[in-house]
Symmetry: C2
Subunit: 337 residues, 2 copies
Amino acid sequence: MRSSLGRRLPVMADVAKEAGVSHQTVSRVLNDHPNVRSETRARVLEAIDKLGYRRNLVARALVTKHSGTLGVVSFDTTLYGPASTVYGIERAARSAGYFVSIVSLRSIDRAGVRDALDYLVDQGVDGIVVVAPQRSAAQTLADLPLGIPTVAVEGGEAGEVCVVCVDQVAGGRLATEHLLSLGHETVWHVSGPSDWLEAEGRVSGWRAALEQAGREAPRPLAGDWSPRSGYEAGRSLASMKNVTAVFVANDQMALGVLRAFTEQGVRVPEQVSVVGFDDIPESEFFSPPLTTIRQDFDAVGRHSIEVLVRQLEGGTEERERLVVPPTFVRRVSTALA
Amino acid sequence: MRSSLGRRLPVMADVAKEAGVSHQTVSRVLNDHPNVRSETRARVLEAIDKLGYRRNLVARALVTKHSGTLGVVSFDTTLYGPASTVYGIERAARSAGYFVSIVSLRSIDRAGVRDALDYLVDQGVDGIVVVAPQRSAAQTLADLPLGIPTVAVEGGEAGEVCVVCVDQVAGGRLATEHLLSLGHETVWHVSGPSDWLEAEGRVSGWRAALEQAGREAPRPLAGDWSPRSGYEAGRSLASMKNVTAVFVANDQMALGVLRAFTEQGVRVPEQVSVVGFDDIPESEFFSPPLTTIRQDFDAVGRHSIEVLVRQLEGGTEERERLVVPPTFVRRVSTALA
DNA sequence: GGGCCGTTTGTTAACGTTCACAGTCAGGCC
DNA sequence: GGCCTGACTGTGAACGTTAACAAACGGCCC
């Protein structure tokens, strides 16, 4: 592989010989040990520079038992939410001095998660972040104690591990209460897939807000996060006559709903008010610009690494639980009833 | 760290003792060497199972000099294009038996790319995929021969390394020719940031198609891929009177353009036709559904791993160049002039 | 001058694999 | 019977680093 240039890469011993010291002294310089004479240190650094030496992290990991790598398990990183979260995780990890190894799952079943975790543990990661938005994934995680610090993102009650998540229930409430405050009799809901904890939380928040206001909760329409499923739900809603307010569980489906309404001649917000969830970069430019609930994915990613690193370096055993509040973003897709 | 259970993890020697063989025989079983008596193999496997032994990949990497990990350098994995590409890369890599370590850059400058590459090489990756859509990144890549197999995605002419990319020029042509064929006198263009090779390719394709048809190319309006920049370009375009056809360099900006047009009372496609680029999942549900040029990001990711693995395992030294053609997707945002 | 302590350095042994080589054993052939 | 061959197994030495311990040295105090 490195056959092109016959000379092998320099190792610590080469540096040691060049600097006229022992390899251990080189190691000490590299690891900032205090007891090295500054003149010696300078000579070593010079030798390192001259030979173009780079320390072999694999050998280091073998003896220290720390690879300096964190594992991330995620589901469909094509979706805006997971993608943003993983992005936040990666940046936070790197600035904390860790590498990130990623496994993206296409479907989340027990075996898939189990494999992904084994895969990462085998590779020698120091800790793991699992973006586990599905009930099944969270449960799997709860079941298998894997003897390695782990943080679940959006992981519900996930057993023994730490959890960082956005308060989905509060988000659902926020959306619903806003619509009720505008004078709507009730609020319809297009939900995410029932297996997703996020979808479930939003349903709960929606239902709670309705109950608190003494309103009947209509039967929610189930979607799968995709614009198409929102579109189909939108067609159903457009054909009903008493619908004046809809809370859609994410912005992509809300786009589909808006499209269906437009096609059917239902005007938003004049006839029906619509609220989304996520605040993707596009939603400000929908027709009409979408009122929505913003999730701070970046913060979620950052916090998950903070928790993990604290566990890794501080050695705290307690299981933390960190909740990030969602925020309400008013645009023009909602109006008085 | 593993302090909770005092017992240390079993190693090869433990398995060997349990099975009554030498550690080397265990190694042979693990690596599917042919010359092991099947009865011995069974005994070893049984011991492995009994002890719950897992091979230490770090130790293995130290001696074989292969970590089984590929590095990926990418820019802003929040954008749909990079996110999808990285997703494709990850899946392809895993099914080829490799792990993936990711570094996401916030901004791409020479130092950033250089650091990211060093970082990955230090970690001992076997090969690297750089998603380098910006001219500066591609150039950096071209400059530094890093003695490790590398593939550039969207990397232009990138020096000595292999390149996998979508034919952006063809895409720009496709979009422009479609609009011209509908009878439009000329086609305006909202471009991506000038430092991006993709943006540049689309401009070239657009200009070439216009020239070939003997039309004057208007001055392109510069965007930054964001819906907002598209919105601003859209406002400018709406204020001009001779604009009947616009080719927008990505779907997100096209959404902004559509929004601006709607606000200004410009009807699409009746008064102005709009074509986007990428075919993000949302664009089918824009108002109106967007005619666009589809990029197969998944294929790009897959191919980049194919090329890399071929280089890694086949040992071919030649620099491949693989171009994925874009496809035209007709929806309803375009109509006869 | 002797003993002790702190700083600096070197020596040796891990870490858990794979590789190179050397056995051992049975069977086949002359 | 002796020798060769092929299948199977074991032994020792890497790989490149850090950890543990030991040694050398100077300074300080009594």
